[in-house]
């Protein structure tokens, strides 16, 4: 089972090392870890993607909560949530038909071309993990020369009866609420 955990932590030196050290020393496998400040500068948010059964998840959650600087841990994936991953990638795209093919794919996946060089272009794309992966697979044949990603971040949707019935397509819901 894949779970997304979201931890609110005190923004103090060493907190990332403390948490990653705990996860490593207890042998938990983390697929992705993203960290950043929240709206309060003394708090940071960490988002983990953990693969494991309920027992593993329960232990990871409790072990995280036990760390003094961890304020709160939430299993986001147990609820209705939005998940995003942002990647930047350079793809070989010599001017000509290949380049326009790639542009078309970028449009379909709602990515953006953010830099154009003589032989390659840089693409920015965000979304759920499966969409990102599908896009990366599409780009492989052209030749990916460099790729960097933020890791998954996630947020629980606001809960109300009407919204709960909305389509769960992330892109659609995001635009409808924007």
């Amino acid at each position: 089972m894949r779970h997304v955990l979201s931890a609110l932590v005190q923004n103090v030196p060493g907190v990332l090392a403390h948490i990653s050290g705990m996860l490593a020393s207890r042998g938990y496998n983390i697929d992705s870890l993203a960290v950043g400040e929240t709206e309060h500068h003394d708090l940071s948010r960490m988002t983990f993607v953990v693969v494991g059964d309920e027992r593993v998840l329960d232990q990871v959650r409790k072990q995280l909560e036990k760390i003094v600087t961890v304020v709160k841990v939430e299993d986001v994936s147990a609820r209705d949530y939005v998940e995003r991953d942002l990647i930047l990638m350079k793809v070989k795209a010599p001017a000509g038909s290949v380049r326009s093919e790639i542009r078309e794919l970028v449009d379909i996946f709602r990515g953006r071309i953010v830099d154009v060089g003589p032989e390659e272009i840089m693409i920015e794309i965000s979304g759920r993990e499966n969409k990102i992966e599908a896009f990366v697979d599409r780009m492989r044949p052209y030749g990916i020369t460099e790729l960097v990603r933020t890791g998954r971040i996630a947020m629980v949707r606001s809960v109300s009866d009407e919204e709960a019935t909305e389509p769960t397509d992330d892109e659609a819901s995001v635009s409808s609420r924007a």
């Binding site: 932590v9 005190q10 030196p13 060493g14 090392a17 403390h18 050290g21 705990m22 020393s25 027992r55 329960d58 232990q59 409790k62 072990q63 909560e65 036990k66 760390i67 003094v68 600087t69 961890v70 304020v71 709160k72």
Partner: protein, 591 residues
Amino acid sequence: MSTANAAADTQLMTGADILVKSLVDHGVDVLFAYPGGCSMPMHQALTRYGDSLRTILPRHEQGGAFAAQGYARSTGKVGVVMATSGPGATNLVTAIADAKLDSIPMVCITGQVPTGAIGSDAFQETPMVEVCRGITKHHYLVTDVEDLPRIMKEAFHIAATGRPGPVLVDMPKDVQLATVAVDWEVPMNLPGYNPEPQPVAAEKVKQIAAAIRRARRPIIYAGGGIINGEASEELRELVNKTGIPITTTVMGLGAFPATEELSMDMLGMHGAAYANYAVRDCDLLIALGVRFDDRVTGKLEAFAKDAKIIHVDIDSTELNKNKSAHIPVCGDVKDVLTELNKVVEAPEDLAPWVQHCMELKAKYPLRYDKQFDGILQQHAISELCDLTRTMDTYITVGVGQHQMWAAQFYKFTKPRTWLSSSGLGTMGFGLPAAMGVQAANPGALVVDIDGDGSFQMNIQELATCFCEELPVKVLLLNNQHLGMVVQWEDRFMERNRAHTYLGPIHHDEASGKSAADKFAYAEERYPDFVAIAKGYGCGASTIRRKADLRDALTEMIEHKGPYLLDVQVPYQEHVLPMIPGGLTVDDMILE
């Protein structure tokens, strides 16, 4: 607050003085501290507070840290140790890891190179916080003297509350020297630390009481949580009310008087056979302040496999960690037992089960050869137990065979009187821990039952005992070998001695197979422990004959200062019973 106090509270103070005053304000009356370049300002400050705070100089930082543990384990108060940066600090590491595994409240203060030099590989610089992340409950590198009053409050709060543990405070030298107008009223900033256990849900208590009422073969499995949680009285009440037999872990010894009929003594790898059989046969396991450690359970799936499990612990990560519980309860065991005792009723028909337990106890007693005319380790411990029964006695141990025999044959009746490095299993724990107990309990009889291997790992602390007038007694069960490893060699490795003999390498015992005689002694004994002890200024004697034991023990007990009794014992006596690692109660070795 009076004006005079308010004025005093805002005076300029150095970091070193703030730190030491914080110790005094937190009720610390003894600490163990070894100075060095980066901790000198703190030591200078300690001399200014000498009236309210005794500083004991150990002879090795590890000794100081285990002494602080001895202080903490015997009193329940936070133990404090101080060391300088680099090697001084890293010498604390083993004892910190030890305190973490056994949940001992400690504040460990280390000097650090000045903040400007941190990260430059300066002389005696070690990234102590990095080293200790995984083995502390929490840790601080103090980078601003203004933070210090808050950090000291937090350090003591974290060490002592919830599941206790060690907290590291790393103090750069410039922070020790910096001055600041102190605000002692500064609040703690711990939004993520909520140690106050949830109030016990009435529903859970009812569930437990119902499970007990329905049980036909219940047993209590109690551990260090009872001792840390000061819940011995409540535990006793539960046993009295229900008549349920009780077994304890090595950390739980003393939580319930071993002299009571319903005490099934210690369970686990070297626990009493009757305790392990009773757990095998039970239908309800009431686990209180325990963590289902592998030395207790052996093969997890087979442990109490027909039983419903109630598990009460203050640390939620322990619930369902190793073994799933049918009724997991996260809470303070004292609160849970208090509530439970209000409603609990004895199971309907417990008599056949109690009779079964008593039969097991009669059939598989802890025993040893009483005919042997030399001194067996178990006999020495039994005699000591007999002689000290009515005294205010504390027992500390090293790690190995002597530790397990002490756990088996010394009958503890009170919590905090038995001190053992149980989770980490650190050899060398016994003498410095005894030193800490003695410092905290000046009038008590403190005996370190030790092995010659363990003893030599912190033997230098004899100097501290003498110089600081800590009249610790050492009962040295000296078999010239690393007995527990020898036992494994004997049992599982065709008695091939692999670096388990502690004498000169040209002796026969050092090479190849040793004598098959169970009662063989290693002759040409080494080293001369009596001469060493005397060299340190302690009283000492050595014995070998059984007839001399009682008088020698009496002489040791009555000696005014620190004393070492070197008891020569054979080296092929095995700790039994034994459940080999990872196996089950049915694989228990009895002979």
